[in-house]
């Protein structure tokens, strides 16, 4: 019996026939699936590659931004960013840096002069070093005969109608032209000295060279 059973079992494989066409069809399916799988893998790899490159660029960008946002660097963001974009080398970077400082000082000098024109001392006060702020307060108190401190600067007449700014290194020389209702015209000259504290450009000192010098015409 065992012999016959063995024989039947051995023959079983041959007595089952799987249609050859089905077998070939299945092979085609398998090959297609493998190829699709490879495509998916390739696509995934491409996607991972693109993501990695994008991430690396993002990190580089964030790193660069973090570096330039450091407190120990001068704070002249707008102009510096613009210049950094066109930097070609170290020398250019240095030149651009100097140019940026000059531009920043000119902007601050404009704010300073405009403050006299509008007679509002607050913008001036905000851009001063502590020492300059103390000086400003002292002067304001003198102007107000020791009464309470206010930020109104200048006089109602003559009023500033025009100003010129000349920047020389860390100093800005501002020439104001004022007029009265007569009309009479006057010229005043002020020197504003800038400094850098913790990466911020601030007004260190300010001196009036002369005030309300009569001029013949505007």
């Amino acid at each position: 019996m065992n012999k016959r059973l063995d024989e039947r079992l051995r023959q079983l494989n041959e007595s089952i026939v799987w249609h050859p066409s089905r077998k070939e069809e299945l092979l085609t399916k398998i090959v297609e699936t493998i190829e699709n799988e490879r495509d998916v893998k390739r696509k995934n790899l491409s996607f991972v590659y693109v993501c990695s490159v994008a991430f690396a660029l993002f990190c580089l960008f964030v790193g660069a931004m973090t570096f330039f946002e450091r407190d120990d660097l001068p704070r002249y963001k707008e102009s510096r960013t613009e210049h950094q974009l066109i930097d070609k080398g170290e020398e250019n970077t240095r030149d651009d840096h100097d140019r940026s400082v000059e531009e920043e000082i000119e902007q601050l000098a404009n704010v300073w002069a405009e403050a006299l024109k509008t007679r509002d001392g607050k913008p001036r006060y905000e851009m001063m070093t502590l020492a300059a702020q103390e000086k400003f307060i002292r002067e304001q108190l003198v102007m107000n005969d020791g009464d309470e401190l206010n930020f109104t600067i200048g006089v109602s007449s003559p009023w500033v109608i025009h100003y010129d700014i000349e920047v020389d290194g860390w100093t800005a020389i501002i020439t104001y032209t004022s007029m009265t209702s007569d009309p009479a015209y006057f010229e005043s000259k002020e020197t504003v000295t800038f400094t850098e504290e913790n990466g911020t450009i601030l007004v260190a000192d300010f001196e009036t060279e002369y005030e309300y010098r009569p001029v013949d015409n505007e």
Binding site: L5, D6, R10, L12, V31
Partner: protein, 181 residues
């Protein structure tokens, strides 16, 4: 994916799987078919076996026989399939095993009445008994290879086979008696 032993011409994974398919798909299909008893499912599981072989090719150690390795995958795929089937259907099938119809999909598998009858007899065995008989006696794997495929110990393979053959022999004897009567 490039594959091949040192000194051998290197084949791509696709080429290797294709050549393995030509060599072993018939045996794999029949093994699965005898376990799941559904020709269409057997084809799907055969496909899954070769896809898995392709995907896991890196884990294939050339020390092992590729046929044994493919059968191991086929065995796992089949077990997963049987586990995933709805338990109720599975239980129902176990209880109605004797009366279970042979695959109606003649366009997939061709076999004569005598073979069908013998397969029905095999179906009456426990799943593990059937597995070991099919591997050892139908496909001619050695005890060691069967151990690898089923992940069984040597004693389990031997004792299960011995018991299963006895049960099957009895079934056969009974069938022959019935037909004589």
């Amino acid at each position: 994916m490039k594959v091949g032993r040192k000194g051998e011409s290197t084949l791509t994974g696709k080429e290797t799987i294709t050549s393995w398919y030509r060599a072993h798909s018939d045996a794999i299909f029949k093994y699965i078919f005898l376990i799941v008893r559904d020709a269409k499912e057997a084809e799907d599981l055969t496909q899954e076996t070769f896809i898995k072989a392709y995907l896991n090719f890196d884990s294939f150690q050339h020390r092992a026989n590729e046929k044994t390795w493919l059968f191991r995958i086929a065995h796992n795929v089949t077990i997963d399939y049987l586990r995933k089937r709805k338990p109720l259907v599975y239980v129902k099938e176990i209880f109605t095993l004797k009366n279970r119809a042979l695959p109606s999909a003649e366009e997939i598998v061709i076999m004569n009445e005598r073979t069908e009858e013998f397969i029905r007899m095999l179906d009456t065995l426990k799943h593990s008994d059937r597995q070991v008989i099919i591997l050892r006696k139908v496909h001619g794997f050695s005890t060691r290879e069967t151990m690898e495929i089923l992940n069984w110990s040597e004693s389990k393979v031997k004792s299960t086979l011995s018991r299963a053959l006895k049960v099957l022999a009895k079934q056969m004897e009974k069938k022959e008696d019935e037909s004589r009567e």
